[in-house]
Amino acid sequence: MDSIAITKTQLEGDRMIVNMGPSHPVTHGTLRIVLELQGEIITQATPEIGYLHRGVEKLGENLSYQQFIPLTDRLNYTSSMMNNVGYTLAVEKMLGISIPRRAEQIRVLVSELARIADHIICLGINAVDIGAFTAFLYLFRQRETVYDLFEMAAGQRLHTSFTRVGGLFRDLPPEFIPLCEQFLKDAPKAIDELEKLLTKNPIWHDRTKGVGAMSIEEAINWGYSGPCLRACGLAQDLRVKQPYMGYDQYEFDIPVGTSGDVFDRYLVRVEEMRQSLRIIRQVVKTLESGPIIIDDYKIALPPKEKVYTRMESLIHHFKLIMHGMEMPVGEVYSSTEAANGELGFYIVSDGGKNPYRIRVRPPCLPIFSSFATKVRGRLIADAVAELGSMNIIAGELDR
């Protein structure tokens, strides 16, 4: 941290120190960047993170597997559904179980809705940071609908905690699908409107083209994943490359960019929203009826009516709450394609009620680690554009 402290030479030289954050409109959460400027050119940027460090991994070691689910909401809080899904998939991989088809389909449905909401926030706020305010308002109406859908499904808009090990917390209510179909009609129009505002806008081009450009090799070396890696030109999408939850049964394309700059990331995210809508349309069309949680009372809680009427279910309920699931001894790494990249969960089990070690691999940490190198020698305005398009979510970055 010596590098953060302002030295005498730094103070007396002709360079200027600008403190961006920890609370600044462009920092998207609490993170601090110390910029050393020569005029308007950044000669050095020192990011300082950890302002939102809550010790999620330490807490996880002291909570049961089910109790950790609400903590995953608070990682990338703009698409908490995908964190819920990613975590429960990791625990299910550890248990070696598969979940009912309907639960899997609903998970895909809410994940893609969350991806759209996440991209809306990223693109909208990136545009606001650069000075294009209208796109943000046009898109936020659609985001509101997504959150209404989440409220119907999970009872919560932001911190959904919708999944459970072995399935889902509850089934979709009957009014969910009609609203979802309405959303499928409205969202493409909103995305078209966004494109009308930005895609051919010369000011948007001036601010984003060439900013943060990167080769594929460099991006891989920095550990990039998700839209930022695809914008560089590599079609790496875990939904296609390592299919999970039956993603291989849906038809969709992986958009890729060419240069990896802010403009390409914008285009990739816009197209990904359209592809997510395509997936949602297919899920709604093929949604099967059936159970939404596994029928194994050693993993999932028995229904309440059985608990109140049957001795055996009462015992299962008690055992599951008090002693937890019977976990095998071992370790798994499970990753999913979250909105801004590969979200991984590494779980080490010693057979106890709680995980022995739980590690969250946040997609934005390796991306943000390249920030200092990428903005060196560029304008402050470029740093703002770059930071917005990296989609840094401090809850996930700091855990």
Partner: protein, 162 residues
């Protein structure tokens, strides 16, 4: 042929243990042969370093060393994954990968911050998430869940003792 088999064939002496569990492949290597193995992995196409973390096995007698540093690699061409673990005693250090993989820079800083494991040759091995005079390393098993001292400020320059 899976990477696990190919590693066992090419450098059996440096691999202490290897196993498969739920489709995940794991190798455990000695700290001394770690760099050689990383070079071999890169030549095999494992160019994406997904994650670096560690596990503290304090008080678990079945584990020969206190720490395990865990690396996850992904081969982007074959989409094959490999977990590499290195067992370390307390105060032992591991060569840094920050030169080969830029992404290792922050991951190693985080492991240093959370576990107190140092990486030799790292360009800037400082704490990542906590502040510079934070007492102790939070993810060690002997670090109390509530942080002990609520403000973590008393005696803050000396290592945490509980």
């Amino acid at each position: 042929m899976s990477i696990l088999d190919s590693l066992l064939e090419k450098c059996p002496s440096s691999i202490q243990d290897s196993y498969r569990f739920r489709g995940d492949q794991t190798v455990i290597v000695a700290p001394t042969s770690f760099v050689t193995l990383v070079d071999l992995l890169i030549s095999e196409g494992f160019n994406f370093l997904v994650d670096i973390t560690a596990v503290d096995w304090l008080g678990k007698t079945e584990h020969p060393a206190r720490f395990e540093v865990v690396y996850h690699w992904l081969n982007l061409d074959s989409q094959e994954r490999l977990r590499v673990k290195v067992r370390l005693q307390e105060n032992e250090s591991l060569p840094s990968l920050a030169i080969k993989f830029k992404t290792a820079d922050w991951y190693e800083r985080e492991v240093y911050d959370m576990f107190g494991i140092s990486f030799s040759g790292h360009p800037n091995l400082t704490r990542l998430l906590t502040w510079s005079d934070f007492p102790g390393h939070p993810l060690r098993k002997d670090f109390p869940l509530d942080g002990g001292d609520p403000f973590c400020m008393s005696d803050s320059t000396s290592p945490f003792t509980h």
